[in-house]
């Protein structure tokens, strides 16, 4: 069995080059002064101090996290039933539905968002509502796909067993189906929450650009200001905060699992 573990090794080399190495370069930038050439690196914590010295930057990060969190919650609430109903469909219809849900994502995000902008122009809704429509629209397919995947091929005998033991439909769902599909929900959260924190295009285009988000901030510092050091520091701070929150989510998941097993 352990021999299967070896299948991971080539990938470890790959991530060392393609993910870790670029990330290390970014970390290096975060801890150095601007305008340093490689030979005369000057390490500093200035970039981090700058972030926390002005309430504006933490505020921007907090707002982005909030928007991402709300988006994720809406995606779970609306996406779970959709995934559940799709999983209950018969054979061919299932795969057609899955493809139908993926298809709109093949249209460029900018084009879709422009379309929403045009559509929502005709409705008197708040700009906040527009932002969430756009965000949910863009991210919910990932949630549905992940939950659906974990619901299909679920061990049907467990469900029958639960019913045989006298559980009603609601009990079966809460005690068997839901816990079993949790890995899918967690994957879905990862796929929605992580990119949602740093997304700024949709909020900008649909929300009238009235507020700055962290993705916008980082992009600005990287591109228009050319301050890679500060941009790197912001994204590092964001990454750490997200890692902590994901860690907590996973921990909760593990604990829940322990509970159902017991």
């Amino acid at each position: 069995m352990k021999s299967f573990a070896r299948m991971l090794y080539p990938y470890l080399i790959w991530i060392a080059i393609m993910i870790l190495a670029p990330m290390l370069l970014i970390i290096l930038y975060a801890f150095t002064k601007q305008g340093n050439s490689v030979l005369t690196l000057q390490f500093t914590l200035e970039n981090f101090a700058r972030f926390f010295s002005d309430s504006i930057f933490p505020n921007v990060l907090w707002r982005s996290l909030k928007i991402a969190l709300i988006t994720t919650v809406i995606c779970i609430l609306l996406g779970y039933p959709a995934a559940y109903f799709i999983a209950k469909l018969e054979g061919n219809r299932k795969s057609i539905m899955v493809l139908l849900i993926t298809l709109p994502m093949w249209i460029n995000m900018l084009v879709r968002t422009y379309a929403w902008r045009g559509i929502l122009l005709n409705f008197p809704v708040s700009s906040e509502f527009k932002v969430f429509v756009g965000m949910v629209y863009n991210f919910i397919p990932f949630m549905i796909l992940q939950i659906y995947t974990s619901l299909t091929k679920m061990d049907q005998s467990l469900l029958t067993a639960a019913e045989d033991l006298g559980a009603n439909k609601v009990q079966t769902f809460l005690r068997v189906t839901l816990p079993l599909s949790m890995p899918g929900v967690i994957s879905g959260i990862t796929l929605v929450f992580l990119p949602a924190v740093s997304s700024f295009f949709i909020p900008k285009l649909l929300g009238g650009g009235d507020y700055v988000l962290v993705g916008n901030l980082i992009e600005n510092y990287f591109i228009s200001t050319g301050d890679w050091n500060f941009g790197s520091a912001i994204s590092l701070i964001m990454a750490v905060i997200i890692m902590i929150s994901m860690f907590i989510t996973k921990k909760v998941d593990y604990e829940n699992k322990g509970e159902t097993r017991a």
């Binding site: 299948m7 899955v98 995000m109």
Partner: protein, 267 residues
């Protein structure tokens, strides 16, 4: 009661589809717009289709988008599946660490991954172009594939491959005959997500590509200053093409099945 429930589920799915296709419908309608506006329909015209087909940059970008997306999907699905299976059998600490690193490209804003990769290629003295673009796409697609497969591996009965090995199957057979079929739904959705991410990526593509190699997203974003409804025409064509493929893939087997049944009846 049961009927009511299935009625509700159908209604819900219909609503979901309506939500998904409302903007698509909007795009299709405006691809026939007489004027350049993206929010005011002034009359019917086919000019954006003609302009699109005459626009060499658009046609080239379609070509690169499809080629990159297909190769990146195939490679990242295979590599991602292998890595995910390996990961599931690894020690907890390796697993946790790898998954965290894997999440980095998803968690970082694209611009950070993009600049990181660009710096990497520059410092390795690799000229940016088709290959770097492809490598970058594979790099950011793999984590998505793995993320889709991991839950399936967690759901799988860990004794299953073991039993196969005990029954005399080779590790290769255990892998292809037992594990892969078991996690197939995860692989499929991983491949779908990988294709989607590659098809729609702008920021990373922009910074890792070289002169003359553009994908649709680079084209769309660079003209977002003076957006041009040719892009709506292009989107419409993508929708139509995918729909046709969908119909062919799904309807032909159905027709065949029906014919088969008819033949059986005749026999």
């Amino acid at each position: 009661m049961k009927k009511l429930k299935s009625l509700f589920s159908r209604f819900y799915l219909l609503l979901v589809l309506a939500f998904f296709y409302l903007p698509i419908l909007y795009v299709v309608v405006f691809s026939f717009n007489d004027s350049k506006s993206l929010s005011k329909f002034t009359g019917f015209s086919l000019q954006w289709y003609e302009k699109m087909f005459a626009n060499r940059t658009i046609m080239e970008s379609i070509y690169y988008t499809v080629v990159i997306a297909v190769i990146a999907t195939v490679v990242s699905t295979i590599v991602g599946t292998i890595a995910a299976i390996g990961l599931s059998k690894s020690r907890r600490i390796v697993k946790e660490l790898t998954l965290q690193i894997n999440n980095l490209p998803m968690m970082n804003p694209e611009i950070v991954t993009a600049i990181g990769l660009m710096l990497l290629f520059t410092s390795l003295n690799i000229k940016t172009g088709f290959m770097t673009l492809l490598l970058a796409h594979i790099a950011f697609c793999i984590p998505y594939v793995m993320l889709s497969i991991m839950p399936k591996l967690r759901q799988m009965d860990p004794n299953l491959p073991e039993a196969a090995l005990d029954l005399g199957a080779t590790p290769w057979q255990a892998l292809t005959k037992v594990i892969v079929p078991e996690i197939m739904p995860g692989i499929v959705s991983g491949a779908l997500i990988a294709f989607t991410m590659s098809f729609d990526d702008f920021v990373i593509s922009f910074f890792t590509t070289g002169p003359g190699i553009n994908n649709i997203s680079i084209y769309v974003y660079s003209m977002y200053k003076r957006i041009n409804p040719s892009i709506n025409a292009l989107s419409t064509i993508i929708v139509v093409m995918i729909t046709v493929v969908l119909i062919l893939v799904n309807v032909i087997p159905m027709i065949k099945e029906r014919k088969l049944k008819k033949n059986e009846k005749l026999d």
